[in-house]
């Protein structure tokens, strides 16, 4: 077990409103495993990642509850100094926008080397660090001579590779990639993703892949967590989510909005309505206002987690007495030409 998060809840408090970004999320990652966190923008994916890294804005963010267990200690309880030893060395993060992620006045080589210098516990010499930087650059597909160049001399895709190099240079145990390829075009996206998977296989790094693109999840992830309004509404292996029968209505809706090359579905079925206002989340299940199969109970009580050998779904449809719901669910999915 590399990382275990239990009932994490985070909210942003300004003097006029309180934004409940993350509500009682729990999941864990094994060594070398990739967990995909999928959800619409504003669902709390990035807040979860920042909570792990301890990079939440001090003045407004507040972790209301939960534990983040990493190598036998709760990250939330660590002091800033202790977190600094972990960040970049044990856990590192790739940010979404490569354009602004690099310091414009330092060379690419310096910025990569800095991560090494910060965590130079094994006493590498200057020359060894340089060699390590060149090696990592080659690894991410950038010629090592370019380590003297500055960020403005690189394209978006190349800059993202540098950011990845920075994140991986210390062989972290856990890599959090916050929508690493959203800002890039498809061809570069494929190269970046395959590179992350190669590196993962090579070093056994576990990865949290945050994305709203199910295609990315399909290619890279072992386990998937569907997040809606700060809650983990469905969690399971890739198979459970893509091939499994039981699904949370939101997951069904998500898959309903993807065009499928095989069938020529006439129209996509986007999920009506918008994400709930995080400052006053609905009673009961937060998806109830948009759920086609919403029942009386959904609006009043928070659904319990239904577990079927690892595949968890937080929906009243799967409450003990509701087995018949399962078949209807499958029928409806079929109709949408899944």
């Amino acid at each position: 077990m590399v990382l275990k998060i239990e009932n994490l809840s985070v909210s942003y408090e300004t003097d006029i409103e309180v934004v409940h970004a993350v509500n009682d999320i729990s999941f864990s990652i094994e060594k070398g495993e990739t967990l995909g966190l999928v959800g619409e923008t504003g669902a709390g994916k990035t807040t979860t990642a920042l909570s792990i890294m301890g990079l939440l804005p001090e003045r407004t963010a507040r972790v209301r509850s939960g534990r983040i267990e990493f190598q036998e200690n709760d990250l939330l309880a660590l002091s800033e100094r202790e977190m600094q030893h972990i960040r970049g060395d044990k856990i590192s993060m790739i940010f979404q926008d490569p354009m602004t992620a690099l310091n414009p006045v330092l060379t690419v080589g310096e910025q990569i080397a800095e991560a090494l210098i910060l965590h130079n516990t094994d006493g590498y010499t200057q020359k060894e660090i340089e060699a390590r930087v060149e090696e990592t650059l080659e690894l991410v597909g950038i010629p090592k001579e370019r380590k003297k160049d500055y960020p403005y001399q690189f394209s978006g895709g190349m800059r993202q590779r540098v950011v990845i190099a920075i994140a991986l240079v210390c062989n972290p145990d856990l890599l959090i990639a916050d929508e690493p390829t959203t800002a890039l075009d498809v061809t570069i996206q494929a190269q970046i993703l395959s590179m992350i998977c190669d590196l993962q296989r090579k070093y056994g790094t576990s990865v949290i892949m945050i994305t709203h693109d199910l295609g990315v999840v399909a290619e890279t992830c072992d386990k998937v967590g569907i997040i809606y309004a700060g809650e983990m509404v469905e969690y399971g292996t890739l198979y459970d989510i893509f091939e499994g029968d039981e699904h949370h209505p939101y997951t069904v809706g998500l898959f309903g909005s993807i065009p499928n090359l095989k069938e020529n579905a006439r129209r996509l079925h986007p999920i009506e309505g918008l994400m709930p206002d995080p400052t006053n989340l609905p009673e009961g299940c937060s998806f109830s206002p948009r759920c086609k199969r919403c029942m009386e109970i959904c609006m009043k009580k928070k659904p319990a987690v239904y577990e079927n050998n690892g595949h968890q779904i937080r929906c009243h449809l799967y409450d003990a007495g509701m087995q018949k719901a399962v078949s209807e669910n499958r029928k409806e999915a079929g109709e949408d030409g899944r």
Partner: protein
């Protein structure tokens, strides 16, 4: 209310809400309002005649009930002179800083943004003006245009434009390299629009600070020009002139310096705090 209106209104109330949060900015605003109130209603508070009537017998008296701030060396009521002086000084301070800001922004931004020939020409001309002693520049303005309030503003502004241009150019140099500027150019936005919609707003912090900090210097430098006949003609009161004429009585009647100095400091303090408050409130990135 049309949709845009509603949007604008909500945007303004949003800015006001964020501004209100900043306690220091509110203190600044309160002081500013008081000083502007004093300047606008000066005639109601104390008749203008009181600041030029000289009562020889009551010369150099300390603050008293009859004269709140005491009397100057001519026996004139200092309280009246400070209150009425606010009109000239505030006008000079604000007008010169704004003019220097506008001209500085136009020249500085275009130098920093365009680079090449434009940058060289503007910078070299600015270098010439920076090397000429400011007193000489004001002398030139006096000789060419004569002495009037307008020319006083021009003379002071001329001596502070070079500093502004250089600062704004340096800020623009880095901002102009950002990618969103490149993006804006890509969909055909005109250079002028880019400069004022994309480049300058991103360097607003230091620019506003530089402008509000300059206000007190402007007020003080107006008095410095009186020796070339450029300042406010006596007997009309002006804070800078009050300060410099109080210099000789500094040890024997310190209140002559204290009150005008305090008003200059309070007005500069309020301009700066309000300026800071505005920069923070207007800045989209500053969510928290």
């Amino acid at each position: 209310m049309s949709n845009a209106g509603k949007k604008r209104n909500s945007q303004l109330s949003e800015i006001w809400r964020r501004y209100k949060k900043n306690k220091a900015a509110m203190v600044g605003l309160v002081i500013l309002v008081i000083i502007l109130f004093l300047a606008v209603f000066a005639d109601l508070i104390v008749p203008y005649s009181k600041c030029i009537d000289q009562i020889g017998a009551e010369r150099l008296q300390g603050p008293s009930l009859k004269h709140f701030f005491g009397t100057d060396e001519y026996g004139r009521d200092l309280f009246a002179r400070v209150i009425h002086g606010s009109r000239y000084s505030l006008f000079i301070g604000v007008a010169t800083s704004l003019m220097a800001l506008v001209i500085g922004a136009v020249l500085g931004a275009s130098a920093g943004y365009f680079g090449g020939v434009v940058d060289t020409v503007i910078c070299r001309i600015i270098d010439v003006f920076m090397c000429v002693p400011p007193i000489l520049l004001s002398l030139a303005v006096v000789a060419a245009l004569g002495t009037s309030m307008r020319n006083l503003i021009i003379a002071i502004t001329v001596s502070c434009i070079p500093g502004n241009v250089r600062l704004i150019r340096s800020l623009v140099l880095t901002v102009a390299e950002q990618d969103y500027v490149e993006a804006a150019r890509s969909y055909g936005t005109s250079h002028a629009r880019i400069i004022f919609r994309y480049v300058l707003p991103n360097a607003m912090g230091p620019i506003i600070v530089n402008t509000t900090m300059a206000i007190s210097d402007m007020i003080l430098s107006a008095a410095g020009l009186s020796f070339i006949g450029m300042g406010i003609q006596p007997p009309s009161p002006e804070w800078g002139a009050l300060l410099s004429s109080a210099q000789q009585y500094m040890f024997t009647s310190p209140y002559l310096l204290l009150f005008p100095g305090m008003f200059i400091m309070l007005s500069s303090l309020s301009f700066n705090l309000v300026g800071d408050g505005l920069t923070d409130a207007l800045d989209p990135k500053l969510k928290d």
